[in-house]
Structure formats: structure tokens, C-alpha cells
């Protein structure tokens, strides 16, 4: 990994603006007034993680994930008796001399992990709850997390697909493999703008309709959609799914008082509420209830459900993601 890092540092291509700024070679932070999406420390943290999947799926190319399959790897796994047709190349001749039996040496086959990262780009993801333009939006956090996960996957030589969606699937970077692709990913994420309504059912159906290899599926969204849970249930046991729910601090703990006419930034719909103490308690209860429903759904299918907040450090949230078992040191 450090080799990879050295190679990137010496490459002549231009990194994304925040990246360059964090290295002291570019202009000031981005025009939005925020720090860069992917700074140096951010990438340094990623170097320590490795993304794996509990269900390793054999791919067409060899990766760094150990597979249960015995094959042509370099790490010895076991012996088995020789049968006709086996290549004499794998016969353990010293064992033959000692035991007078033809034994075939088996090696643990290393496979690649197909990773698909689905990023919600609906308007609700870009809503600045504080309204001052300085706070990190849910979309910023989602992009950072997506970049981190893609980066780790590419570092492990896994095949990564980055798909955006709102009402349906949008732009997609397919077949990313190898660390060199990360720059392309950064540019793509920088160019995204949140817009449109969220429709998980239509978007995920659209995603499933295209032929894909099963592997790790990471969905990053705020899941503010009535069809989110039913859409997740469409994924069968063949998928290894990680649902990352992005929430802002004001969504988790709204600061409302008196009568308020709430306006949905996606649909323009309105809801008149009396933001009393009981109302806010009901909201928190309902939010907690929804979290529990997602967790229950994911637990039943051995998936992971991770909550991320915009007011928490990114490193902590990455650590939380990798602690779920998808990341091995």
C-alpha cells in the first residue's frame, strides 16, 4: 500500500482540487468554503484499511482476497490424493519419497471482490440544514465515504462500480480496477450535484436489471423515501449489502419551535406542525423506530446497517464502517 501511495505521489496527473490543496500544491480550498473532499490525512487513513467481504466471490481476475477455492495461488493450503488427470506439476515429490504416495499440493486461490457503491444524489442529500454554507452536507459526507470505500477496493485490486441514483440510476463508473482509477473517481464525485427526488424502488430495480456479478453492494443514502425498506428487501441472499445512512445533526435532533410549515426540498410538499416538546419526542421516536426497522432488516439477512452523521469526524465513521467486518487489517 505504501508503494501505491508513493507511486500516486509521483504521478504527474492533476489531483482533485481539495487533494492538491491538502498537499500544499494547489489553490485554496474549494469555492464552497469547505475543506477539500479528499485531503492528505483522509487518504493516509485509508491506507490502513482493507476491504474484504465475508462472502468472497470468485472473479475473472485475481485479486488479493483469499478464497475458499483451492486453486493456483501461492499460499499452501492442503494435500489431496493424486487422481488421473492431475498435473504432475503439483505433485509433492518429497512427500512421495517419504510416504510412497502421490500427493497433490493445493494452494488457496486469491480472487477479486466485485464492489458496487450506490450513491444517493437526490436533492435531500444536498440540503444544508444549517443554511450557513459552512457545515458539511450529507452529500459531502456521502461522497467522502464513497471515495474512501472505492479507494480501499481499488487498492485491494477489486473490481469496483460507482453508481449514482436518485429517481433512477444515473451516471456510473463501471469496471474500476486498480489504484490508478481513483483519480477518475475523485473527479467524478467532485462533479456530482444533488438534484431530483428519491425513489429507491425504481432506482434499485434499474440497478438490478443490468447484468452484474454478485459481490459487495454499498448503498449510501439518507433513505428519506417511503420505498426504501421495500426496495432493500428486493435484494436476495446472494448480495452482501452494506447500507450507510447519512443524517445531519438537525435531522437527528431538530431545533424547531412553535408552529412551523415544513417544506420538502425534494417534492415541495408542505406539512404544518406544532413543534411542541411532545412533537419533537414523537419525531425522535419515529426516527429511532425507523433505524430499528432498517437494522432488523439487515440483521436478518446478515447485512450491515451503519449510521453516519455529518457532525462527526470522518475517521470515526470510517472506523465504524470497517469495524463491521468488511474491513480487515
Amino acid at each position: 500500500m505504501r508503494e501505491l501511495w508513493k507511486r500516486w505521489s509521483s504521478l504527474p496527473w492533476s489531483l482533485p482540487t481539495p487533494w492538491r490543496h491538502s498537499h500544499g500544491t494547489g489553490p485554496t480550498p474549494s469555492e464552497g468554503g469547505r475543506e477539500g473532499l479528499f485531503d492528505r490525512h483522509f487518504l493516509a487513513q485509508l491506507d490502513h484499511y482493507r476491504l474484504v467481504s465475508r462472502r468472497l466471490t470468485p472473479g475473472a481476475l485475481r485479486g488479493e482476497h483469499r478464497s475458499k477455492r483451492r486453486g493456483s495461488g501461492i499460499e499452501f493450503a492442503d494435500y489431496r490424493p493424486y487422481v488421473d488427470g492431475d498435473s504432475l506439476r503439483f505433485v509433492d515429490w518429497p512427500a512421495y519419497l517419504r510416504f510412497d504416495k502421490l500427493l497433490i499440493r493445493m494452494f488457496q486461490e486469491e480472487t477479486e471482490l466485485p464492489i458496487a457503491v450506490l450513491l444517493d444524489t437526490s436533492a435531500s442529500m444536498g440540503f444544508d440544514a444549517a443554511g450557513d454554507g459552512n457545515a458539511q452536507t450529507k452529500f459531502d459526507l456521502a461522497r467522502r465515504l464513497a471515495a474512501a470505500l472505492v479507494y480501499v477496493g481499488l487498492s485491494n485490486l477489486d473490481r469496483v462500480n460507482l453508481v449514482t441514483y436518485s429517481t433512477t440510476t444515473g451516471s456510473e463508473l463501471r469496471g474500476l480496477r486498480g489504484p490508478n482509477e481513483i483519480h477518475r473517481v475523485f473527479r467524478h464525485l467532485e462533479g456530482l450535484t444533488p438534484a431530483g427526488e428519491t425513489a429507491h424502488d425504481r432506482a434499485l430495480i434499474s440497478f438490478l436489471e443490468s447484468p452484474r456479478k454478485r459481490g459487495l453492494l454499498i448503498i449510501i443514502s439518507d433513505f428519506f423515501d417511503a420505498t426504501a425498506q421495500s426496495a432493500l428487501q428486493r435484494f436476495g441472499a446472494g448480495f452482501d449489502l452494506m447500507a450507510i445512512r447519512i443524517a445531519s445533526a438537525l435531522e437527528e435532533e431538530p431545533r424547531l419551535a412553535g408552529r412551523a410549515l415544513l417544506v420538502d426540498v425534494e417534492t415541495g410538499g408542505e406539512a404544518l406542525i406544532n413543534a411542541s416538546h411532545d412533537t419533537l419526542l414523537d419525531y425522535r421516536d419515529l426516527l429511532s423506530e425507523q433505524h430499528q426497522q432498517f437494522e432488523s432488516l439487515c440483521r436478518k439477512r446478515h447485512w450491515s446497517y451503519i449510521r453516519a452523521r455529518t457532525d462527526q469526524p470522518l475517521s470515526d465513521q470510517l472506523r465504524q464502517i470497517f469495524k463491521t467486518g468488511y474491513l480487515l487489517r
Binding site: 435531500s124 442529500m125 440540503f127 440544514a129 450529507k138 439518507d222 428519506f224 423515501d225 417511503a226 445531519s248 435531522e251 424547531l256 412553535g258 408552529r259 412551523a260 410549515l261 415544513l262 417544506v263 420538502d264 426540498v265 425534494e266 417534492t267 410538499g269 408542505e270 406539512a271 404544518l272 406542525i273 406544532n274 411532545d278 412533537t279 414523537d282 419525531y283 419515529l286 426516527l287 425507523q290
Partner: protein
């Protein structure tokens, strides 16, 4: 208002309601003028809509519970409001209600309710606290419902009750069958309530001036006169205007009086000569401000039709001729050759007499001695002490009208004797009516035949000889008159149709009608308390109305 009494419960009812309404209006105004909701963009209203739905469900549940509590409170307070009535009226089971519908129950003053209206309100309160079956009846026999099986039917039966002025009030079916008897009356009439009956009084003293007597004397075609008696039965002095008119609308007399409380005023009024022999009526009217009872403010008298009578006059009699000339009902016939074929009702002899005792009605004026005529009667030996006239020119006071009217005059009964020694008597027997009247006086010593009294004497004699006798006027103190219902002057009510007066019914009125403030039946039970709307009830009703308004506004989307 002192601080000690300054509380909501001591406020007058209207002021309390006004305070409550003002408070409610202020609350509604402040509610409508509350600041508008602040617009707040959010990522999604998905959760908020669900929160709003849940809170709406909670609020609806709370609202229904609150409405239930308010309804229960209202029912409780209304029940407490009616508790007074239930306390005042003992438990009524199968009651018999008798409502007084006599004439005095129509007393009304100042545009308020009549006594009958108050009695009906009292009866309704009683019925609402009574257990069926209920019997409703009045005191004049107009309504007798029998046993009514429901309160609703009993309440509807009350609407049929109306005043009956002419019938004497009595409690119907006084036989006790063990059912409680409740009588609602003003107490003026003597109802003869049985023992144990609960008497509820709706009496309130009312100002009233009315006619207690009205009569018109009628002596042939002579000038009639009216006897008028007006009583102020009210508790205060009253100004009264009295008028007498005839069926042509002519007003004979009009007088304004001021009567003290309880004062009785009477007078005789000389009327115009009757223009016709037909029956006609006279009307007396009293008018007084704030009079409570209209029923006794007018009275009518119908005079009898006059019958023409023919007199066969023997000899020259100038006084009789004057009488005949002044009375259009009399015709004088002279005996002639065809005397036998002429018809006449009375034979008149002046200073003469038939040789034989006559068989038909005969008037002898100063007859000479005849064998069949008692000399002692013709000599007029008795002189009565009093000769005053009760009604001048009409009737003497001390004539034995009783005997005269009933034709039971004994032989040689003295009818009248004057100071100047005129004597009028009739001859008859117990078994047959008088046939001979003798008018005797001394022409040398008396000028009665030239006096104005002489026509009255002739008329009196002719009445005594006639089959139809005009009734004398009713005056106080005449024995045998007050108990004779048929002899009372008839007061009639008229109904006016298209401006034309017509006699619709003849109903005699008693003097007690005017006496609307004299109580003969005492109350034994307090009137049931009216269900009053307490301020608390009004407050609860206002709260319920506010809830209804809020619910309606919410249903129409004006509220969140």
C-alpha cells in the same frame, strides 16, 4: 357592589352571560389572530407527516375524550339545574292534573303571561317529573284526557286547554282513586278541592277594573234606564272611563272616574227612548290602563221585544189618553156599535165600573161602588210610610214584586199606595192570575192623575194584568233575586266580524269574574321551581360550542 359580593355567582344573569360571551369572543379573536406558521425547509417531510398523523390521532382521541367529559359535565349540570324542580315536587306517580280554566285565569298585565300561561308552564314542569299514566283535565269540563301513557301525550294535551268564562269552575271527578291530585289555579274561584289535593297557585295580584253589574230597565216604551256598577278589584288606584252605547253605536253616557283600590262605583243612567218595539241591546264599556282582564270590561244587555196592547176605554179619561199617546205600544179603543167584534187586551173604566164582575183583564180607575167590588179596597184606607222611588219614574221600591211577578196575588192584594193616597191593587186568587186592577185615588185631594207618576202606575197595572210581564231591574237587597239565576240580567259576549257586531253567544258572567285578586282557594304546595340556566351551564355550552367550531374549522382545513 361590595367586594364581599363581587363574585361570578352574584352577577346578574344577563351580565354573567355577557361576560362569558365577551371572554369567548376574545379567545376566538386571539386564536384567529395568532402569528402565522414559519416556513422551514427540510430534507424530507416523510417523517414529519407521519409524526403529524400520529399526533392527530392522539389529539382526536383526546378531543373525543374531552368532548365526552364535557358532555357528561353538561348533562350533570343540566340535571342539577332541574334538581330544584324535583325537590319542589315530590315523586309523582300516576298524577291527576287539573288546570283552572276559569275566566280569571285570563288575567294579564303589562303584556306578560296570563295566569293560564303560568299554569301551563307549571303543569309542564310537573309532567316532566311525573311517572305516567297522567290525567289532564280542566275545571270547566272542556278537557278530560283520561289516562295518558306518556309525558309527550300529556304535554300535547296541555295545548288543548283554553278559558271557559261562562261555566262555573269545578274540579271534575273528585272521587279519589288513590292517585295524587294536583290542581293548578289562581285561587280566585272556589273549586271545592278535596282534602289531600295539592294546590299550586299561579296567583299574582293584577290591576283590574271591571263591570260587576249592568242592567237596563224596560217599561214599555218609556225611557229606559241603565244600572251600572264598576269595581276596581286591583291593588292600586285606577283611572276608569265608563261608556254606554247601543247597537247603533250611539253613546249615551261617558264618564271618567278615579277609583281607589277595592272601590265600587254605581250609577243609573237615563237612556234614550227606544225607537222600536223590537229587541235590542246596550253595551257598557270600562277602559283602564294596565287592565289585566278584558273579559269584564264590556257587558251587553238585550232588551225584550215589546208587545202592542189594545185598551178599550170606557168613558172620557184624559190621564189614560195621555198615557196611550205617550206609549206607542198602547192603542185606545172606544166602545161602539161594533164593540163586540173588536179585540182588546184590557178593559179600562174611568169613574165607572161594569155592573157585573168582568171576566177579562180590567183596569178600574176610581171606580164607583159596586156590589162585587170590596168597598174597603176602593176607599184606600192604608197609607205606606215610605214612598221613595228607587228609580225615579220607573218602579217603586216597596211594591211586592215577588207576588206580582208570580201571579200569586191574593184577593185584593195591595200593590202600591202613595203619599197622596193613590192605591193600586189587584183582585185575584191563589189559583188564577189577577183579572182586575184597581187604581184608586181621591181626585179632590190628589193630583196624581196629572203627575208624572201616573203613567207608571197605569203601566204597573197593565203589567199586572198582562200575561207577559216585564222584569223589574235588579237591585241590591231584593230578597229572592240573587238566588234566582234566571232573573239575572244577561251579559253577553259579542264577536265582531267584518266590523259588524253580532251576538254569538249569551253567557252570564258572575261578579266574581272582576274579583281576580280575591282568593278563595288557598295554595297548599309551592310551585315547582323553574329550571334556570345557570352561568355554569352557559359556560359549558360555550365550551362545547367552541369545540364544535374548532372541529368544524379543522374539518374544513382552516386549522392544522
Amino acid at each position: 357592589m361590595s367586594p364581599a359580593t363581587l363574585s361570578f355567582s352574584t352577577l346578574p344573569y344577563a351580565l354573567a352571560v355577557a361576560v362569558l360571551l365577551s371572554t369567548a369572543a376574545a379567545v376566538i379573536l386571539l386564536y384567529l389572530l395568532r402569528p402565522p406558521a414559519r416556513r422551514q425547509p427540510v430534507s424530507s417531510i416523510l417523517l414529519w407527516e407521519e409524526v403529524a398523523r400520529r399526533r392527530r390521532r392522539k389529539r382526536d382521541l383526546l378531543r373525543w375524550l374531552l368532548s365526552l367529559l364535557v358532555s357528561a359535565a353538561i348533562a350533570l349540570l343540566i340535571g342539577m339545574a332541574f334538581t330544584g324542580a324535583q325537590r319542589a315536587a315530590p315523586e309523582l306517580t300516576r298524577p291527576r292534573l287539573v288546570i283552572d280554566t276559569s275566566a280569571t285565569m285570563g288575567a294579564r298585565s303589562g303584556g306578560r303571561q296570563t295566569r293560564l300561561d303560568r299554569a301551563l308552564s307549571t303543569a309542564r314542569r310537573l309532567i316532566r317529573n311525573a311517572a305516567p299514566p297522567i290525567t289532564i283535565s280542566d275545571t270547566t269540563g272542556g278537557v278530560n284526557s283520561g289516562e295518558l301513557r306518556s309525558r309527550r301525550a300529556a304535554l300535547e294535551k296541555l295545548d288543548e286547554l283554553e278559558l271557559h268564562a261562562a261555566r262555573p269552575p269545578r274540579i271534575p271527578g273528585s272521587s279519589s282513586d288513590g292517585r295524587p291530585l294536583w290542581v293548578v289555579t289562581d285561587g280566585v274561584a272556589d273549586l271545592g278541592a278535596p282534602d289531600g289535593a295539592a294546590i299550586v297557585s299561579v296567583f299574582e295580584p293584577e290591576p283590574n277594573v271591571g263591570l260587576t253589574r249592568f242592567a237596563v230597565t224596560q217599561r214599555r216604551a218609556r225611557q229606559p234606564a241603565a244600572l251600572l256598577e264598576v269595581t276596581n278589584a286591583g291593588p292600586r288606584e285606577a283611572a276608569v272611563e265608563v261608556a254606554i252605547s247601543d247597537q247603533e253605536g250611539r253613546v249615551f253616557a261617558r264618564q271618567t272616574l278615579s277609583l281607589e283600590a277595592g272601590e265600587l262605583w254605581s250609577a243609573t243612567v237615563r237612556l234614550e227612548p227606544l225607537p222600536t218595539l223590537e229587541a235590542q241591546w246596550f253595551r257598557a264599556t270600562v277602559t283602564s290602563p294596565d287592565d289585566a282582564l278584558d273579559l269584564d270590561d264590556q257587558a251587553w244587555v238585550v232588551t225584550q221585544a215589546l208587545l202592542p196592547r189594545r185598551l178599550q176605554v170606557h168613558g172620557v179619561c184624559e190621564p189614560i189618553d195621555r198615557v196611550v199617546a205617550a206609549d206607542p205600544t198602547l192603542t185606545a179603543l172606544r166602545p161602539g156599535p161594533d164593540l163586540e167584534v173588536k179585540r182588546y187586551e184590557v178593559d179600562v173604566w174611568y169613574h165607572d165600573a161594569p155592573v157585573e164582575r168582568p171576566g177579562g183583564p180590567t183596569l178600574l180607575v176610581n171606580p164607583p161602588d159596586r156590589p162585587w167590588l170590596p168597598v174597603e179596597q176602593a176607599a184606600a184606607p192604608a197609607i205606606f210610610a215610605e214612598t221613595s222611588w228607587a228609580l225615579p219614574g220607573v218602579a217603586p221600591r216597596h211594591v211586592a214584586f215577588e207576588a206580582l211577578r208570580r201571579y200569586s196575588v191574593p184577593q185584593a192584594e195591595t200593590l202600591w199606595t202613595g203619599e197622596d193616597a193613590p192605591l193600586l191593587f189587584v183582585l185575584g186568587s191563589e189559583a188564577e192570575p189577577p183579572r182586575i186592577a184597581v187604581l184608586s185615588f181621591d181626585p179632590e185631594a190628589s193630583s196624581v192623575h196629572l203627575d208624572a207618576q201616573f203613567p207608571a202606575l197605569v203601566e204597573l197595572a197593565l203589567d199586572a194584568l198582562s200575561l207577559t210581564v216585564a222584569k223589574p231591574p235588579r237591585e241590591a237587597g231584593w230578597s229572592g233575586y240573587a238566588d234566582d239565576e234566571a232573573d239575572r240580567p244577561q251579559l253577553v259576549k259579542l264577536s265582531h266580524s267584518k266590523g259588524r257586531a253580532e251576538i254569538s253567544a249569551i253567557e252570564p258572567l258572575g261578579a266574581e269574574v272582576t274579583d281576580i285578586n280575591r282568593r278563595r282557594t288557598e295554595a297548599t304546595t309551592a310551585s315547582p321551581a323553574a329550571a334556570a340556566w345557570s352561568p355554569e351551564v352557559v359556560l359549558v355550552l360555550l365550551a362545547l360550542a367552541l369545540l364544535a367550531v374548532e372541529f368544524a374549522l379543522r374539518q374544513r382545513g382552516y386549522l392544522e
